[in-house]
């Protein structure tokens, strides 16, 4: 597939830059530290912060805002901590999500669902760690899926 740059929305990057959090998007020089430090990228390589920024800079508005990927970010701010150009990818994701809602790519309620999932995951994590933390001096085998089932029942 060849991307025809003239057919893309060259305003997109300026629009993102005008959103709160998206101000520094243009500064990206594609070093890739964001992707390298991202825990989500670690488990799903389709999630690639550098590529998302690249798509924004080239003007791939529809592709980015309709993409599943912008919802995978867990807002851990690891990318932001590593970025040498202060591009602030975590904040850019927030801006992109805002734009996706505003431009009708997702239902506003969807944002609330994602927020719910985030909170639930954190609680789940707390339960699971709680279950094993007692044996932390022995360091026994842990079976996360079994542990999850157990923790889920508690929740």
């Amino acid at each position: 597939m060849t991307v025809a740059l003239n057919e893309l929305d060259t305003r997109f990057k300026y629009d993102v830059a005008n959103e709160p959090g998206g101000e520094h998007i243009n500064l990206c020089f594609a070093c890739g530290l964001c992707t390298a430090s991202c825990p989500v990228s670690d488990i799903d390589q389709r999630f690639n912060p550098r590529r998302i920024i690249r798509m924004v800079l080239l003007g791939m508005r529809k592709e980015v805002l309709s993409s599943d990927m912008i919802w995978f970010c867990i807002q851990c701010y690891s990318c932001q901590a590593h970025c040498p150009q202060e591009v602030d990818f975590s904040d850019i994701v927030k801006a992109l999500r805002e734009m996706a809602v505003r431009e009708g790519y997702v239902a506003p309620t969807f944002v609330a669902s994602v927020r719910e999932i985030d909170v639930f995951c954190q609680r789940m994590r707390r339960e699971m760690v709680n279950a094993v933390v007692g044996s932390r001096f022995e360091g026994g085998e842990v079976e996360p899926s079994a542990l999850a089932r157990e923790s889920l029942s508690k929740l």
Binding site: M1, T2, V3, A4, L5, N6, T10, K13, Y14, N26, L27, C28, F29, A30, G32, R50, R51, R54, M55, L57, L58, Q85
Partner: protein
């Protein structure tokens, strides 16, 4: 009368432990010609040096050997001592019994130490002293070239009190930069008026250097200006002929040669774009502009700066969408990092592609296809204006000047070979220098550095009005030389020429000033006519003879 040799043994404050100095002294004193052997534990200390001077004054030796540390440290120290004591510095030889004996071997190495001293003694015995002379030099400097670096060098040299001639092929100074000063980031007008008001600077334009010979302090140069031949003497020559650019012949489907006749008007050079942006002389502002960078020439420091400046201006002034296709953005020039950030900040898109972009022209519209490595996909963009990649080239006449001054060019044809010993602005031929763009991919700030270092080197060479030289350190024997020209052809410093000597015979004459004492000529001479004092055949062979005598 036999040569009297004094030997000083030094244990370097006790740092030399595995040599029995008493035994050494005893064995050395038996060498014929050695008239005294002194022991010291700190010869290079003030007290040691004083002691040495007084011993030399007492003993009246003809030659002195110091056995101790590496001559790298001690040679000049002891040569001074000898001169204080009334001997020539050339009467000295060192035996390196510390770095090259005591410290590299275990156990008792007295035997080897004695051998090293014997080698030094056998060499020093054969040394001849040389006369030193101060040769008068011309303090005038010729600067060849008419651009920023030439004018800058002339001004700097004039400021430190050296008279300068500028010879440029252009009609007027600064012709290349005229009207595009800010493109080249130099203030040529101010510099030009400074030259006009400087009585120390003579400007010859349009002028061409047609012949040159001689050596540092004494170059005879012929300059031709409008049919007139000007012959002058110069003490030093500065080549500042700059560079030219060529649009790289990127292969384009349906296009003969980019930049050549018949190529579309919407393919422009950096300088053309700069002028368009500067005077606003474009009917319609281009919506999309593409730049090509470093796809066929890695040496793109200057083109990178031009690209960044022009890209920013195009975004800011015209609001065009700007794409830069490149392998890498090279930001090692002064201020380039800042410009690169500024360019990104204002929306210039850099497409990093791992192979050269493919171009196609259809009905005057240019499309560029390239693989964006970060997107992991091919991209294609149609543009209204393409800024072709520029490759820096040496200007016409570079080779002729190099031949004239006997200097070598680098692999791309610029001045300045890639040899670390030549320093950035010097040549194997003493007294000839180069500054600025003529030595390759340079931008303004580096040119300024060049100008300062050249001025400093020339000041060191000419300011006193004399060059001190040892007379006939390397010399061809009048009787033996058969004028075979071998030495002239091999001398890396072009210090040798054929000359008629007193008896009317033509022989190789080695310049005391230009000679850098490498001895290549002495080794290659098929008639064994060249004598290199200090490294004469008999002096080298005497050391070999002395090895293992004990």
């Amino acid at each position: 009368m036999d040569t009297k040799i004094a030997v000083f043994l030094c244990n370097c404050g006790g740092a030399i432990k595995n040599i029995d100095f008493e035994a050494t002294r005893e064995r050395i004193s038996k060498i014929p010609g050695v008239t005294s052997v002194d022991l010291s534990s700190g010869l290079c200390f003030e007290e040691g040096k004083r002691e040495m001077v007084s011993r030399i004054r007492e003993e009246h030796p003809d030659r002195v050997v110091v056995a101790g540390c590496a001559p790298e440290f001690s040679e000049c120290v002891f040569q001074q001592v000898l001169e204080t004591a009334g001997l020539s510095g050339r009467s000295f030889s060192a035996a390196n019994i510390r770095e090259q004996c005591s410290w590299v071997h275990d156990g008792d190495v007295t035997g080897k130490a004695v051998e090293l001293v014997k080698m030094a003694v056998s060499r020093v015995r054969l040394l001849r002293t040389l006369e030193k002379k101060e040769l008068p030099v011309s303090r005038e400097v010729l600067v060849v070239g008419g651009g920023f670096s030439a004018i800058g060098t002339a001004l700097r040299l004039s400021r430190i009190g050296l008279p300068v001639t500028i010879a440029a092929v252009e009609e007027v100074l600064g012709a290349t930069q005229d009207g595009v000063e800010s493109f080249y980031r130099c203030d040529i007008d101010t510099m030009k008026s400074a030259v006009e008001g400087d009585r120390n600077i003579e400007v010859l334009t349009p002028a061409r250097v047609t012949s040159a010979h001689g050596e540092a302090g004494d170059f005879a140069v012929t300059i031709e200006r409008e049919g007139e031949r000007i012959r002058r003497k110069y003490g030093a020559i500065v080549l500042a002929t700059g560079f030219t650019t060529e649009l790289s012949p990127v292969s384009v489907k349906g296009l003969p040669v980019v930049g050549g006749a018949g190529s579309p008007a919407n393919i422009v050079s950096q300088e053309q774009l700069f002028r368009m942006l500067d005077n606003g002389a474009t009917a319609r502002k281009p919506e999309t502009i593409a730049f090509l960078l470093d796809s066929c020439d890695e040496n793109s420091r200057f083109p990178t700066l031009a690209t960044l400046n022009n890209a920013i201006a195009a975004r800011v002034k015209w609001g065009s969408e700007v794409y830069v296709f490149c392998k890498d953005v090279k930001v090692d020039s002064e201020g380039a990092e800042k410009l690169y950030r500024e360019a990104r900040g204002c929306g210039v898109v850099f497409v990093k592609c791992d192979s050269a972009p493919r171009l196609a022209i259809d009905d005057g519209r240019i499309s560029i296809e390239a693989r964006d490595v970060f997107l992991g996909a091919d991209t294609i963009v149609d543009c209204d204006l393409l800024v072709a990649e520029e490759v820096l080239c040496p200007p016409e006449g570079t080779e002729a000047l190099a031949d004239m001054f006997n200097i070598r060019l680098d692999s791309r044809g610029f001045y300045q070979d890639e040899n670390v010993h030549l320093y950035p602005v010097g040549f194997e031929k003493r007294g000839v220098f180069c500054v600025g763009g003529c030595r390759g991919d340079l931008e303004a700030s580096r040119m300024a550095n060049d100008i300062h270092s050249v001025a400093m080197m020339i000041y060191g060479l000419l300011s006193s009005g004399v060059i001190e030289a040892e007379i006939e350190r390397v010399k061809a024997d009048t009787q033996k030389c058969v004028a075979c020209l071998t030495c002239i052809r091999v001398c890396p410093h072009s210090a040798i020429r054929l000359s008629r000597v007193d008896n009317g015979k033509e022989i190789a004459v080695i310049s005391d000033v230009a000679c850098d004492a490498c001895g290549i000529c002495a080794a290659i001479c098929p008639a064994k006519a060249i004598v290199f004092e200090g490294y004469r055949d008999d002096q080298v062979l005497a050391q070999i003879e002395a090895i293992g005598e004990s």
